[in-house]
């Protein structure tokens, strides 16, 4: 059984169908890059996996937890998949440490000392152990995104969804965030990332999914997909002629 099973998923906004029957199985430890033009449905697909968007048809399960649209099932599913956003979405009224501790104590009812120890460990892991007391607005974009990663990791998910996590960053800050993601991949974390970082996708990912007009248009190992794109749409997207 695959870790994430996406079966015949369809999603419409009114009459506009943005996902037109997606099938994708992700094995434990896989790192998957989802690429494609804007409007191709790649972010929507990612947001469907942890129930931020409700799917119109089809099914999604993560490690046996079915995506069902009620608070109990959603919570069970969200404890298995963490998500990191383009805009970081740190809680501005809490310190970096507070951000990483909050959901542990609120959702998992972890004791404060334990949650704090975990927060320090996770902030260390993303290289920000010394910023425990800093508020988000005292951190650079790259640092904020690393705190967001630490916050997701502290919930000990078995997979992480990354939604264009470097797109809002200044170019010189992209590398520090990607370095953290690369490390996670090396440690065997299952990752699904929507990304525009083609070089990163080529180096780190086990599979690349090219989405076009709400469908998985092409899928394969990065060396095949990038070196030998089969469909004209992917060739055009990659700028190969």
């Amino acid at each position: 059984m695959s870790l994430i099973e996406i079966t015949e998923v369809r999603k419409s906004y009114g009459t506009n169908e943005v996902l037109k029957g997606i099938n994708l199985d992700v094995e434990p430890g896989e790192v998957i890059a989802i690429i494609g033009k804007s409007g191709s449905g790649k972010s929507t697909l990612l947001r469907c996996i942890n129930g931020l968007e409700t799917i119109t048809q089809g099914s999604i399960s993560v490690a046996g937890a079915q995506l069902i649209d009620d608070e109990v099932h959603l919570k069970a599913l969200r404890l298995k998949v963490g998500m990191i956003f383009q805009q970081f979405n740190l809680f501005p009224h809490l310190t970096a440490g507070g951000n990483v501790m909050l959901s542990q104590s609120v959702v998992k009812k972890t004791a404060k000392a334990e949650a704090e120890a975990m927060a320090r460990k996770m902030l260390d892991r993303v290289g920000l152990g010394h910023k425990f007391e800093a508020y988000p607005d005292e951190l650079s974009g790259g640092q904020q995104q690393r705190v967001a990663i630490a916050r997701a990791l502290a919930m000990q998910p078995i997979a992480l969804l990354c939604d264009e996590i470097t797109s809002a960053l200044d170019p010189e800050l992209v590398a520090e965030v990607l370095a953290v993601v690369r490390e996670l991949a090396a440690e065997g974390m299952t990752l699904l990332m929507v990304t525009h970082e083609m070089k990163f996708a080529r180096d780190v990912c086990s599979r690349v999914v090219f989405m076009h007009q709400g469908r998985v248009h092409e899928i394969g190992r990065p060396e095949e997909v990038f070196a030998n794109p089969k469909t004209p749409e992917l060739q055009q997207f990659l700028g190969v002629h």
Partner: protein
């Protein structure tokens, strides 16, 4: 005829001011509690709850406070319930205040970026937990200046309760005028007392607004 000194007038007005202050406090605290409940209904996921809160707010904001006072005072009387003026006044003001506070606070909650809801949901928080730990702490800071500002409206709103016979500052003004035949002095003093109650509230609302804004920090 008995002569009234200005001090006599002022003393009686000040005694009645206690009731204006008490009624304002009750309205504000009670209205805050009901308003918070309405807020939760207004942003609930249930359609019926949202609709109820929406119509409640529209009804109480769309009719004069005076009519609400009349309805609470005379209307309940029709059903054989004997409503004392203080109860009708308190009830109407609480319900009226709630409708405005709920709407002010809804604006504050909705001004919090959607990403905050999404991030906290992704971490497994339930809706109440999101409100309690993520949204309200941020919304509260935004809500303080307009809420304090609105309290001025509540204080002035209490003046209308004089019409159903609740003896607060305005009613006392009328009573004292009838005894002294010095309407200008009496109502002048009444106005000054209202001003003395309201001005510090307006001022603190302004100061709070500047304080919470200039820093532009969320902590």
């Amino acid at each position: 005829m008995i002569e009234f000194s200005t001090w006599d007038i002022l003393r009686n007005l000040l005694l009645a001011t206690r009731w204006t202050i008490l009624l304002s406090l009750v309205s504000f605290v009670g209205g805050g509690a009901v308003g918070l409940l309405l807020l939760f209904l207004r942003i609930s996921k249930r359609k019926a709850a949202r609709a109820f809160a929406k119509y409640y707010i529209e009804l109480f904001q769309g009719t004069p406070l005076l009519m609400q006072l009349f309805l609470a005072f005379f209307g309940l009387g029709l059903f054989g319930i004997d409503v004392p003026a203080w109860l009708a006044a308190g009830l109407a003001l609480v319900l009226w205040t709630a409708s405005f506070l709920a709407e002010i606070w809804r604006g504050c909650v909705e001004s919090i970026a959607r990403g905050q809801w999404e991030a906290s949901a992704s971490l497994g928080m339930g809706r109440l937990q999101q409100m309690r730990y993520v949204i309200l702490p941020q919304a509260l800071k935004i809500a303080v200046p307009p809420t304090v500002g609105f309290s001025v409206q509540v204080v002035k709103g209490t003046a209308l309760t004089s019409i159903i016979g609740f003896v607060e500052l305005s009613k006392a003004g009328t009573v004292v005028t009838n005894a002294t035949f010095q309407p200008f002095t009496v109502y002048g003093l009444v106005a000054l007392i209202y001003f003395a109650l309201c001005w510090p509230l307006s001022k603190s609302s302004q100061i709070l607004e500047r304080k919470l804004n200039v820093a532009h920090r969320n902590h």
